[in-house]
Symmetry: C2
């Protein structure tokens, strides 16, 4: 498995992409329109937000994926096209049909995504004018440019590609994502577009995507808000010419492992780049009766504003970790819990049997001053475990979100 974090959606065979500024964002320096295109029709599927308020683009994408294939994706940033009524639905459809027409493919082979402010009419004219410009720029090195065009308050693009082999045949998966703010378990304000030249059955592709999303993007939280628009879609165009994967054999699991690595990498990048974040927080809960319970506990810790601010301040306030475990909606015995804070190179035990232990505050501070902080919790009640990722809560989070629209 070869990982490359400098190439994204155009790494697999037969994919082209481009990103341009079309005029949705105010600053002409900021790209706001991306197109991904596959040379041939691809097997495709998606996973969507569970928010009951759903963006118009998401509804259209879902409809267009009924036939389980797609050949292009058009994405704008700067406007979510959500809470925009029938007008919004019309415009999301229009994005697909204009893009399909210009690419000479069917409108329902085009998927649509939007991200940005909610409840503002979408400037469809800017998109209309932008489409031919973006299409003219489509090329097999355009992944980075597309990745730039989908970000909002993100401070960096998020891309990765992985090469692996299926019975000796090289296969590549690539992806780009955007996150920042509102990122929450259950697929929230986050877009991830995955491309691969793998040859795989549609049903298995969907199954792999779903299970991979569950242990990656769905275990990330920035501020506990889950969003209206977000989705992960995957296009598999088969151009690697590997033996078709149509059962859950070792080839399927080889693919799944690569897909998990790819999605967990992006999920961590998203967590780390949460609005105003200075640190990535990883919470590992082990010794649990079952994985679901471990997941609920890990997410509860990651979501706690009090834990997040303590980590921002590099304060070993482990009582807040216990508190966050305690209000999570799952049963456990508080009197068996151990907690340690850790970084890449060191760790320190701060709580055993649900009670304080003597520890070196100086060493704890040193660990918590790192950019990458782990909270390791053991319930000593079973063998299941789960990991969740988040970020600290900082002054800048408040600053960024206090006046987002202007």
């Amino acid at each position: 498995m070869k990982i490359n974090i400098n190439k994204g959606v155009t790494a697999p065979k037969g994919f082209k992409a481009a990103g341009i500024h079309c005029g949705i964002k105010k600053s002409s320096l900021k790209k706001d329109l991306a197109i991904i295109y596959s040379d041939v029709t691809a097997t495709a599927c998606g996973v969507y937000t569970k928010n009951k308020v759903k963006g118009a683009p998401l509804l259209i994408t879902k409809e267009h994926l009924n036939n389980k294939c797609a050949q292009a994706i058009i994405i704008n940033s700067g406007n979510a096209n959500t809470c925009t009524g029938d007008d919004g639905l019309e415009k999301a459809k229009k994005m697909a049909s204009l893009c399909g027409k210009a690419l000479n493919i069917k409108a329902d082979d085009v998927l649509v995504a939007s991200t940005g402010v909610i409840g503002v009419p979408l400037n469809i004219d800017a998109i209309k004018d932008g489409i031919p410009i973006a299409i003219a720029q489509l090329n097999s090195y355009g992944g980075h440019s597309a990745a730039e065009a989908i970000i909002t308050t993100d401070t960096a693009t998020k891309e990765i590609s992985i090469e692996f082999q299926i019975n000796g045949t090289p296969v590549v998966i690539g992806a780009m994502a955007k996150g920042s703010g509102m990122i929450h378990p259950n697929m929230a304000t986050m877009l991830s577009f995955i491309t691969t030249d793998l040859n795989i059955d549609a049903k298995l592709l969907k199954e792999a995507l779903k299970s991979s999303v569950d242990i990656s993007y769905n275990r990330v939280s920035v501020d506990g808000d889950s969003s209206t628009n977000d989705m992960v879609v995957i296009l598999a165009n088969g151009l690697a010419n590997n033996d078709n994967i149509n059962e859950k054999d070792h080839n399927y699991y080889t693919f799944l492992e690569a897909l998990n690595t790819l999605n967990i990498h992006l999920a961590k990048e998203i967590a780390k780049d949460g609005e105003g974040a200075t640190k990535l927080i990883e919470c590992n809960v082990s010794g649990c009766k079952n994985e679901k319970s471990a997941e609920i506990l890990a997410k509860s810790v990651i979501n706690s504003s009090l834990v997040k601010t303590a980590i921002f301040g590099s304060d070993a306030n482990w009582g807040r970790v216990l508190c966050a475990l305690g209000y999570a909606n799952t049963e456990f015995n508080p009197n068996l819990v151990t907690v340690e804070f850790a970084c890449e190179t060191d760790s320190i035990l701060v709580c055993a049997n649900g009670c304080y232990v003597e520890f070196d505050e100086g060493k704890a501070k040193e660990i918590l001053l790192k950019d990458d902080v782990k909270i390791n919790i053991n319930l000593h009640s079973g063998k299941a475990s789960a990991t969740a990722w988040g970020c600290d809560l900082t002054y800048d989070y408040v600053k960024i979100n206090g006046d987002y629209r202007s």
Copy 2:
């Protein structure tokens, strides 16, 4: 019904209180030990946090209330005596027994409460030395002094008393509370002590307290974290000599109305005084199929970090309100929703049928610049409604919580 916000727990007949500095908090200027005492044994009951990690004092109080009566309450601030193992339980018991001995009453007629940092051994010697000093200062004007001794990061004491009549006999309820940080639906990091000279049956007292807590403290959120220690207790000593309330007649409802007014007042004070808060946010959800659903939706809006920061920035970003409704765990039709922002004197419609409407941004800003902001939501799907309270999320919240322990 006469409301007095300058008198608290010593307003009803036969109650004395005192608050002193005994040495748990570092600064000798800050009080940290309070005692409330009733001249006679009172009918008593409590409601407790649902956090699975429970503070030692709470376990002792629960035990001491098995006989449904109490005569004194001892409370320390500066240390929660939680996650302190058997040592913590011993010390909580000790607080009750030392206080009982000094007051010449049974230890199990003394209730215990603690608030402050979690997971640090309690300085029981300081409390031991403080008890006789506090008892010597017990007096029927000592309510305010006690209210000062229970606060932590609160910026103000929270007291209220209400006078009403039962069949022509004057009755008084008084209370003091502390909040700030970690305040969340379901009785979190919050202490409220209610005293009354009402003569009432124990079972009805408990029922009234529970129903009142459900629509007051349990509808408040500061940061979504629910705490380990918190409780509301009420002592009714009967010294008003009213006709005993032993059924749900109009006298019971007269009392309940006064109790609700008292608790809602304190709940709003707690929300307004959330750590770093500059504004009280009230979210009213109406037009709902049932009250439970209205409550879930109102709390979801109040808990959203993105809504909180938008209100801090006086930014009419109503899309975040829709988003928070959408991820709440209850069904509704997003296409029927109206949202307005309001203050005491004005209001502005910002969303109808789940979609944007034209509105005057200047006027919206003016409303949102007020200290007391309302978010009024109508689902147009029924007749039930609910209100929840919270506060904005500010730079100072992050500052206060980034290094709480030092």
